[in-house]
């Protein structure tokens, strides 16, 4: 239980850092990768999804906060909101971005956990495959 907890926290931190690093690349689709890694770290689906969810949300949350403070990006979001929905929807856009971060993180976690389960199933089917050379 203790190990699982520690793994969970480590995976959150790894996801946070990796997501932050990936914001340096202007390809937002890569945001799924940290979530996948988080999912693979954690044994349970719940922990995988949650660590992706928290890590990516925190990372984009910090990024957004810094952007809003240092670049007045909120004004642009507000103008963008006005373009799509009408006046005063900047906050909604901001919330949507964070929400989507959470969703991408969680989905990534789910995929990662699915991959991990698949890998586990494979290694279970071939339990000695990895140590064959050694025994020989």
């Amino acid at each position: 239980m203790e190990i699982e907890k520690r793994t969970f926290f480590i995976s959150v931190v790894v996801v946070l850092c990796l997501t932050m690093l990936l914001t340096l690349v202007p390809v937002w689709q890569l945001v799924i990768i940290p979530g996948i890694i988080a999912g693979m770290f954690n044994k349970s689906l719940k922990c995988g999804v949650l660590s992706g969810f928290i890590g990516v949300t925190l990372s984009w949350g910090i990024y957004v906060l810094v952007g809003v403070i240092t670049r007045n990006t909120y004004i642009i979001l507000d103008q963008f909101g006005a373009l799509i929905f009408g006046e005063g929807f900047g906050l909604l856009i901001l919330i949507l971005i964070i929400l989507l971060a959470a969703i991408f993180g969680a989905i990534g976690g789910g995929i990662g956990n699915g991959f991990m389960t698949l890998i586990n199933a494979y290694t279970e089917k071939h339990p000695y495959r990895g140590s064959k050379t050694k025994s020989e």
Binding site: W28, I93, L100, I111
Partner: protein
């Protein structure tokens, strides 16, 4: 094991499709908006838009000779101090790109026919038209000439020009990942800037100021009216418009009622339909439609004036200028202060972003300001064709010359097209595929325009920036070839002057037929060799005035010179003259020593309407004449408002609303019956209506030709008043005339360059009208009128203390909608009629530290 695999497949079959769906949604463009993921998610899009500038920044630049410091004041205006002039221009280019890159980029794209490359085929017609009229071609040719001159040592300035371009490109190159929002929204990248791009901006200013279809419009109107009565055209459009106060006072005054009648103007009828067809169709091109609307609304205008040291309270001249252009966010002008130690180059003023130096402003010795002259610098020619490859010129079959162009179009193959040229210019009647016959029957149309030639305005601007006295300034003015301007001048030695300057053609009218007005007023028959340009008015022969007895000089787009100027023909188009009347009135009646900088501020923001003062007393008198001493209640209520009014177009008052709506109806009821019956298009002038109202009560124009009755002026004025009351009661849903606030109808709007509403500013209720010194013309035919143009800058230069000079622009310095300097001057100063100080300090160390917002230091690499 099988269990685990099942579990994994179950998980993946839920999460993978979900990922694909979400990623697809956010990766696809939506309703013309780029993919939302690219636009909104961290790492790109809105997160890569430049923010405010850091308090201090250091840049190491290759090829820099010395250090440069850029101080931004509290309005974000850069004050650039450099050891070497070439570095100064580098820094200026950098600042222009830093603040206005998208604006610069779109303007050059427009001139160079590259809009459809980034915005798609909707802009193809604009691109074709811009290329066809030859602006880019002549920018390229002028650039080649400059390079030759530079190489043979006759154009030293070109090095500074190139360093300015280097500054722009250094910014673009070093900010590939951070760019204005508009680039993200429209999905393209800024490309390298060149000297040709800068020259294209000069061409664009020339297009805005002088490209027009007046000759063609006049021709169709003349024919329509002459069909009825040979004097009708001159009644409405005859030279000279009444009540004009010439800009240059040295050539006499016009008589009070100069309008002539009885001219027999009867040119050929042959082309009316074809030319009207061309005029109708050319308006399907967005750029041309906007230009024609702006000209119709008299958006392109300006004011400038100067008083000498006797009139001013400082003992030195005070010069004012506000140029009227279409409003945009960001605004047309960019304010800056430039100082180089090595040459002593020291200037403050307004520049077009993308052009080096300042266009309007002052240095340590002289100052200057512009208004548009309206000189006739464009003529239209028509020719008979001889097959598809030849036209008749001067009686001889002549082959066209051809130019091929290629336009890249977003999302489709590039479009190739050919423009035929006559000896005069590009054949435009063949160019457009708007249902026009291939060539108007057996006729083609081509313009000859001064902008289709070498132009040296950028050298003139450089000369202005460096002039130290009137002689030096005049010498520089000789290079002011395109966009002819009334250039008002003053200096620290106490001189004031004005010279309407530019390249004005002289025509050979020896071959025009009887009934043609000559002087480029109507289109010429090119096949007969009519109206050839045989030269340009020599600079020395242009009207000018230096230190006149009247102690001031003023221009507001009225007629340039009085009746004693007989040297050459100058212009067909000029303003109705109401702004000029008011400025002259205020300065003419000022006592010696009474004009202060504060007084100049109130004059620039003056909204007292001389047009209202001309019309309203006549209206009041007519009401009593018509109804006797006790008019009906509704009329009496309106009368009460008008009688107590001081003609100030105050947004809180009702009288301006009544006056303006009534004037519109009066104009419509006087002229629209003829406009509709005789089918003519030229805008009827308010000043002509004033003249008819005052001088010719029984003019046939007051008669409504659609009725069997014979209406008189008084009847039309009362008909208009009753229509006004009905309309206003309906619009305001109130018959209480005191509630009809002018501000409810008269508003200002500052449209974003992208046209997107959230990036635009306004509407704001405002004082004024199109004919006040502080102008904001609106059309209130269908309700609320929104002015989209007016003063694009305001400048007051105090020659007793240049540091006391003031200025303001109706936007802000920076073109980023997230910057506090996007609209700060508009919202905090311009709309309140306020100004900011210029901080014209001659060294970095004298700059007031409390006004420093940020600093940028350029160092040479290794420095």
């Amino acid at each position: 094991m099988r269990n685990l695999t099942k579990k994994a497949i179950k998980k993946l079959s839920v999460f993978i499709p979900l990922t694909i769906i979400l990623m697809t949604i956010f990766s696809l463009p939506l309703m013309g908006i780029p993919p939302l993921g690219d636009l909104l998610f961290p790492g790109n899009g809105v997160w890569k838009v430049p923010g405010e500038l850091p308090a201090a920044e250091r840049l190491n630049i290759p090829d820099l000779r010395g250090e440069v410091t850029v101080i931004r004041d509290e309005w974000g205006i850069p004050h650039i101090y450099a050891s070497y002039e070439e570095d100064l221009f580098f820094a200026q280019g950098y600042c222009h790109a830093q603040d206005r890159l998208f604006q610069m980029d779109m303007t050059r794209r427009q001139v160079r026919g590259k809009l459809s490359e980034v915005l798609g085929e909707d802009l193809l017609a604009v691109d074709k038209f811009m290329l066809a009229i030859g602006m880019e071609d002549w920018a390229i040719k002028t650039d080649e000439l400059f390079r030759k001159m530079h190489n043979n040592g006759t154009l030293e300035y070109f090095s500074s020009f190139e360093r300015y371009i280097d500054g722009i490109n250094y910014y673009i190159g070093s900010h590939e990942d951070v760019k204005p929002l508009e680039y993200h929204l429209m999905g393209f990248e800024p490309t390298e800037w060149s000297t040709i791009d800068t020259l294209c901006l000069v061409q664009e200013m020339a297009r805005q100021m002088s490209w027009n279809y007046h000759d063609l419009d006049r021709y169709t109107t003349l024919l329509a009216l002459n069909n009825i009565n040979l004097t009708y055209y001159n009644d409405l459009f005859g030279l000279t418009l009444p009540y004009q106060i010439p800009i240059v006072p040295d050539y006499g005054e016009f008589p009070e009622s100069p309008m002539k009648a009885g001219f027999e103007l009867n040119p050929s009828f042959a082309l009316k339909t074809e030319i009207q067809n061309f005029l109708d169709n050319v308006q399907k091109i967005n750029s041309e439609k906007t230009l024609m609307e702006n000209q119709k609304d008299q958006i392109i205008g300006s004011n400038n004036w100067v008083v000498n040291g006797t009139l001013s309270n400082t003992g030195a001249p005070i010069l004012c200028n506000d140029m009227h252009l279409g409003w945009m966010m960001p605004g047309v002008w960019y304010e800056q202060h430039l100082k180089a130690e090595d040459t002593g180059f020291h200037v403050y003023g307004f520049a077009i972003p993308g052009m080096p130096g300042v266009a309007v402003g002052h240095n340590e010795k002289v100052g200057w300001g512009f208004t548009n002259t309206g000189y006739d610098v464009l003529d239209w020619y028509y020719y008979n064709t001889d097959g598809s490859n030849q036209y008749i010129y001067n009686g001889t079959s002549t082959p066209y010359t051809e130019k091929n162009y290629s336009i890249n179009v977003k999302g489709q193959e590039s479009v190739e097209f050919t423009v035929k040229h006559t000896v005069h210019g590009p054949v435009l009647s063949d160019l457009l595929d708007f249902g026009l016959p291939q060539s108007l029957g057996d006729i083609v149309l081509a313009p000859k325009w001064t902008a289709n030639g070498y132009f040296f305005n950028i050298l003139a601007g450089n000369g202005f920036d460096r002039a130290i006295n009137r002689a030096g300034f005049d010498e520089a003015s000789k290079d002011w070839t395109l966009l002819a301007q009334n250039i008002v001048y003053a200096d620290v030695d106490g001189n004031i002057a004005i010279r309407p300057t530019g390249k004005v053609p002289i025509r050979d009218d020896s071959k025009i037929p009887l009934g043609h007005l000559g002087n480029g007023t109507l289109p010429y028959n090119g096949s007969n060799g009519e109206g050839e340009w045989i030269g340009y008015i020599p600079f020395e022969d242009l009207p000018n005035s230096l230190n006149p007895n009247q102690k001031y000089l003023a221009s507001a787009n009225q007629i340039v010179a009085g009746p004693d100027y007989n040297s050459y023909f100058l212009q067909n188009e000029y303003a109705d003259g109401y702004r000029a009347r008011r400025i002259n009135e205020l300065l003419m009646n000022a006592a010696d020593g009474s004009i202060s900088v504060e007084r100049m501020k109130t004059i620039q923001n003056d909204v007292n309407s001389t047009a209202a003062r001309a019309f309203v007393p006549e209206l009041i008198e007519t009401i009593y004449d018509y109804y006797g001493p006790t008019p009906p209640t509704k009329i009496n209520n309106v009368l009460t408002e008008l009688k107590s009014w001081q003609f100030v177009m105050d947004k809180e008052e009702a009288a301006p609303t009544i006056y303006r709506k009534w004037r519109d109806y009066f104009q419509d009821f006087t002229f629209n019956d003829e406009v509709e019956m005789y089918n003519f298009t030229t805008r009827t002038r308010i000043v002509v209506l004033e003249y008819l109202m005052k001088e010719d009560e029984f003019s046939h124009w007051f008669n409504d030709v659609s009725t069997p009755l014979n209406e008189t002026r008084n009847e039309i004025m009362m008909l208009a008043l009753n229509a006004t009351i009905d309309w206003l009661e309906s619009f305001y849903s109130s018959d209480d005339s005191s509630t009809w606030r002018w501000g409810d109808l008269h508003q200002l709007y500052f449209s974003s360059l992208t046209g997107l509403d959230p990036l635009s500013k306004g509407p704001y209720e405002a004082d004024g009208e199109g004919y006040t010194i502080n102008p904001a013309g609106v059309n209130i035919d269908n309700g609320v009128g929104t002015a989209r143009g007016g003063p694009s800058e305001r400048l007051i230069i105090d020659f007793s203390n240049l540091n006391n000079s003031l200025s303001v622009i109706p936007s802000g310095q920076r073109g980023f909608s997230n910057s506090k300097h996007y609209s700060d001057q508009l919202e905090q100063l311009f709309l309140q009629g306020k100004y900011h100080y210029q901080y014209f300090t001659n060294t970095l160390y004298n700059f007031p530290t409390s006004s420093i917002e940020s600093q940028l230091f350029f160092f040479p690499i290794g420095g």
